[in-house]
C-alpha cells in the first residue's frame, strides 16, 4: 500500500502463517474416540482424523453434521489440543441451549461416531510459539488459548506466556486442573474464599503490560463479542498497540 491516498494502516497484522489452501477445502471424515467432561456444561471431544495435515495453536476448523434427509449444519470450533503427530484433534464444546450442533455433541455423540471436518482454518489467530504471548479468554474462548498453553508446555518453550481466563465460577472453569503459574483465573459470579468476584479489570491487565517482555507482548483475545470488546479495550487502555491484538469472536 504505497500509492498516495491510502491511509497508513495500523491493522497491518499479517497472518501468522501461510494457510494451506488445499487442507482448508477438503472435508475429512473424523471418528470420535473419546469424550471427557470438563464442567457441567462443557466437554472435550477427541477425534481421529486420517490425513489431518496438522495445525498451529489458535487455529479453528469447521465441523459438518448431515441429517438423513441431506440437511447439513456447519459450525466453527477452535482446536483445543496442541499440535502433535498422532493424527488426533480435540475440540471443547459448550452446550449451548437449544444448540443444533453442540446439542448433538452433548446428547447424542458417542465414541465411534463419524462426522466431517475441514481445516485447519485461518492463520490469523495462530501462535507458532515465536513471540511472548499474553492470552485473555472467557468461557469457551479459552479453548484456542489452551492449545497455546499446551504447546508451550509440550515444547518446553521458555518465552513468556501469560493467561487470564474468566469464568462464572470455579465449577465453570474449563481445564481447571491443567493451569500452572502462567494462569490467573478471574471469577465473575462466585469464587473460592478469599478470591475476589467480578469481571476482568485494568487491575488484572495493567501489571502485565508494565512488566513487558523484550519486544513486547503479542495479545490474543477470545470469547463472546462482549468479552472481546471489553478485554481488547482494557488492553488498549493499558498501552498495548492495536496492531498487536488479535481477536477471535465466537459470535
Amino acid at each position: 500500500m504505497t500509492q498516495p491516498g491510502t491511509p497508513v494502516t495500523r491493522f497491518a497484522v499479517p497472518g501468522r502463517i501461510g494457510v494451506s489452501r488445499q487442507a482448508a477445502s477438503v472435508w475429512r471424515t473424523a471418528t470420535l474416540t473419546e469424550i471427557r467432561r470438563e464442567t457441567p456444561r462443557v466437554s472435550t471431544f477427541r477425534f481421529a482424523v486420517p490425513g489431518w495435515p496438522g495445525h498451529l495453536p489458535g487455529q479453528h476448523l469447521m465441523v459438518r453434521l448431515t441429517a438423513g434427509d441431506g440437511y447439513t449444519a456447519q459450525r466453527h470450533y477452535s482446536i483445543a489440543s496442541a499440535p502433535d503427530d498422532s493424527g488426533h484433534v480435540e475440540l471443547t464444546l459448550d452446550h449451548v441451549r437449544d444448540g443444533e450442533v453442540s446439542g448433538w455433541f452433548h446428547t447424542v455423540a458417542r465414541p465411534g461416531d463419524r462426522i466431517e471436518m475441514r481445516g485447519p482454518l485461518s492463520g490469523f489467530f495462530a501462535w507458532p510459539g515465536d513471540r511472548p504471548a499474553l492470552l485473555l479468554g472467557a468461557g469457551s474462548g479459552v479453548v484456542p488459548l489452551m492449545s497455546m498453553v499446551r504447546h508451550h508446555r509440550a515444547r518446553n518453550l521458555t518465552l513468556p506466556l501469560r493467561l487470564l481466563v474468566s469464568a462464572r465460577g470455579p465449577e465453570d472453569l474449563i481445564y481447571a486442573d491443567e493451569y500452572g503459574p502462567e494462569t490467573t483465573p478471574v471469577f465473575t459470579r462466585t469464587a473460592p474464599e478469599g478470591t475476589a468476584v467480578g469481571r476482568m479489570t485494568a487491575a488484572h491487565v495493567a501489571p502485565l503490560l508494565v512488566e513487558q517482555p523484550p519486544g513486547g507482548w503479542e495479545a490474543y483475545v477470545c470469547g463472546s463479542n462482549s468479552f472481546a470488546e471489553h478485554a481488547s479495550r482494557l488492553l488498549v487502555a493499558a498501552g498495548q498497540p492495536v496492531e498487536r491484538i488479535r481477536i477471535e469472536r465466537f459470535g
Binding site: 489452501r21 477445502s25 459438518r64 441429517a67 448433538w104 447424542v108 488479535r246 469472536r249
Partner: protein, 201 residues
C-alpha cells in the same frame, strides 16, 4: 453423503432464502472482526475513491450525506454460517460515489479498505449497478461501532466479510489483489449461493 448418526437438525421449514450451509440467526447479529473496534467519530470519517478513475475524490460525512439517500432491504450472509433476513441499511448507493469519480475502462477490481487498515477485494462488477452501498444506518438507527459504524460498505449478495466495516475507501485496479481474509485462506469472491467460503471451493 455422510449421514451423522442420530442427527436430525432442528425442525425447519424449507426456506429458499437460505444459502447452502447457512442457518437463520433470527434476532441475533453476531459480531465477527479480528480487530479492536475503533472509536471513529462521524466528523473524523472520510471516504475516498482513487486508483483507476478519472477524478479521485474524498468525501467527508456531510458531503457523503448530501448524495441521494438510498437503502438496502433484504438478507445478509456471514461465512461463519449465519444469515439474517429482512434487514435494512440506510445510506447511499455506491453508484452515486462512483459516478462522481468516473471509473476508467481498464478498472476491473476494487480493494476496499477500512480506517483500521482491514482490506478486502471485490470484482468491480460486484459493486456497481445497485449492488453495493455505503451505509450509516441500521434499522433506522445509527450503525453501531462494533458493526462498522459510523459507516461501512454493504455488498449483500456476497459473504459479509466483503462488506468492510469502518470503510475508508476503494481503490480501483486492473487486477485482483487479495485482501486481509483472502490472504488468510478465504475465497477471492465469496458467493454464498455457491458456498465460496475458502480458496479452493
Amino acid at each position: 453423503m455422510n449421514i451423522t448418526r442420530g442427527f436430525t437438525g432442528r425442525p425447519r421449514v424449507h426456506d429458499s432464502g437460505l444459502p447452502p450451509g447457512q442457518y437463520d440467526a433470527r434476532d441475533e447479529w453476531p459480531v465477527l472482526s479480528a480487530e479492536v473496534t475503533p472509536d471513529l467519530a462521524p466528523e473524523d470519517w472520510t471516504f475516498r475513491i482513487d486508483g483507476l478513475v478519472a477524478e479521485p475524490r474524498t468525501w467527508d460525512w456531510e458531503q457523503a450525506h448530501a448524495l441521494p439517500a438510498d437503502a438496502y432491504e433484504g438478507d445478509i450472509h456471514c461465512v461463519t454460517g449465519w444469515s439474517k433476513f429482512g434487514v435494512r441499511f440506510g445510506g447511499v448507493s455506491l453508484d452515486a460515489f462512483l459516478d462522481q469519480v468516473r471509473p476508467l475502462p481498464s478498472a476491473t477490481h476494487v480493494v476496499a479498505y477500512a480506517h483500521t487498515g482491514y482490506t478486502t477485494n471485490l470484482p468491480l462488477a460486484d459493486v456497481i449497478g445497485g449492488r453495493a452501498w455505503i451505509a450509516w444506518e441500521y434499522g433506522g438507527e445509527p450503525l453501531p461501532a462494533e458493526h462498522g459504524g459510523p459507516a461501512r460498505l454493504i455488498v449483500p449478495h456476497l459473504y459479509f466479510w466483503k462488506s468492510a466495516k469502518w470503510i475508508a475507501g476503494l481503490r480501483l485496479l486492473d487486477h485482483d489483489e487479495p485482501g486481509f481474509w483472502e490472504g488468510n485462506g478465504y475465497h477471492a469472491r465469496g458467493n454464498p449461493w455457491e458456498e465460496q467460503r475458502y480458496s479452493g471451493d
